[in-house]
């Protein structure tokens, strides 16, 4: 192994102790050389190192053995029948994908149509139908109740305790005798107009 104190071209672990740094850096460099990933001058350095250092040569032999081991995992390509089968399976898979995509799109379209219809209905109801109806009903109801109250007041005997004997504030009944003789319908009509 190269002397640890010698600065090495492959030293990339400056923050580590020099002994460890150099050994690891050299080993890394050996691996890179083994893979053909070093420059020419780096390759020359490695070669001379290999010639000088037997432990370095042992490491190289280990690397070769490891590569031979890994080569056992090399695989043959598929034969024609396998390729054909894979191709058919792929086409079937693609068709399934397209079908599910189409189905998904159809579902989305339907959901969007329903949502759109619902939104339009709500919008129309909000703008045109519901508020107007409610207001109109309320107004009619109030008018009807008011008229009923007035009629009750007309028909029932007047007594100071009775709530139906209520009169609008103003001068007393004695000062306006004509008001009591006025027909109730015309009075209520006038009140409606006032309201």
């Amino acid at each position: 192994m190269k002397n640890p104190s010698t600065p090495s071209f492959g030293d990339r672990f400056e923050d580590r102790p020099s002994s460890l740094r150099s050994e690891e850096a050299w080993n890394r460099q050996l691996h890179a050389w083994f893979d053909g990933e070093v420059s020419d001058w780096e390759a020359d350095e490695i070669r001379s190192q290999l010639l000088q250092d037997p432990s370095y040569r042992t490491k190289l032999a280990e690397l070769r053995n490891l590569r031979q081991d890994l080569d056992l995992l090399q695989a043959e390509g598929p034969d024609a029948a396998t390729l054909d089968r894979m191709s058919r399976r792929f086409e079937a898979g693609l068709a399934r994908e397209v079908r599910s995509l189409t189905r998904g799109l159809q579902l989305w379209r339907r959901a969007a149509a329903v949502l759109l219809l619902l939104s339009l209905t709500l919008f129309a109801a909000d703008r045109a139908l519901l508020p107007g109806t409610v207001q109109a009903n309320q107004k009619e109801e109030i008018d009807r109740l008011y008229l009923e109250l007035l009629q009750q007041a007309e028909t029932s005997p007047s007594s100071p305790e009775s709530p139906t004997s209520w009169r609008p504030p103003g001068p007393g009944p004695d000062s306006q005798p004509a008001a009591s003789t006025e027909p109730s319908s015309s009075r209520s009509g006038r009140l409606s107009e006032q309201r």
């Binding site: 081991d69 890994l70 995992l73 695989a75 390729l83 399976r89 792929f90």
Partner: protein, 196 residues
């Protein structure tokens, strides 16, 4: 040794192959054998490799729009394939495969040997199969980041630069990762040999 000076190729090499009508079929015809081999090298058996290939190409079909043509198409395909196949392998291993070497042995403590190479003597073929399974098991024990660099370098024969592109890491990281991966693999192999 069957080293191959493989390279994913230069950008634009497969230009047009992934575009236009029938592009997927063309891509499949062109790359399916390579992906199949990669699947086997990732440790999938032939039938699982077929599933893996289909999974890879369906994923390619879904993601083809994300390929911008900045790198070679095969680099992009390798990225998709490696991730998909290693995920597939993990799934399959979890479901069907014994996790440890000891569980590969049968009741008599023998290792199952399937179909020795017809070109070899029976004993030679069996020994080779046994060694092959040992190496496979050792490789399976490595963390994924080490396994993928070893597969790409040792089995696919790719250059550091291409591996860096495929994995999206710096070339220096590839170098140190390969170095550490080999050290770990050698250690795992020694452990397994001692355990036998």
């Amino acid at each position: 040794m069957s080293r191959k000076a493989g390279s994913p190729g230069e950008p634009g090499q497969a230009e047009g192959l992934h575009r236009g009508p029938g592009s997927l079929e063309r891509l499949f015809r062109e790359y399916a054998p390579k992906v199949y081999r990669l699947a086997c090298r990732c440790g999938l058996d032939p039938s699982e490799a077929e599933d893996g290939v289909q999974e890879v190409f369906l994923k390619v079909q879904r993601r083809i729009d994300t390929f911008r043509g900045e790198a070679a198409f095969s680099t992009w395909l390798y990225q998709v394939a490696m991730n998909t196949l290693l995920d597939h392998r993990r799934k399959v291993a979890r479901l069907t495969r014994p996790r440890h070497w000891s569980s590969l042995q049968d009741d008599n403590g023998e290792l199952p040997v399937e179909g020795p190479d017809p070109g070899l003597e029976p004993s030679e073929g069996a020994a080779r199969q046994e060694r092959c399974q040992l190496v496979r098991e050792a490789l399976d024990r490595l963390p994924r980041k080490f396994r993928e660099v070893l597969i790409l370098r040792e089995l696919e024969g790719l250059a550091y630069r291409d591996i860096a592109r495929i994995l999206g890491i710096a070339q220096g990281t590839v170098e140190s990762r390969i170095f550490r991966a080999r050290e770990r693999l050698a250690r795992e192999l020694r452990r397994l040999e001692e355990g036998l």
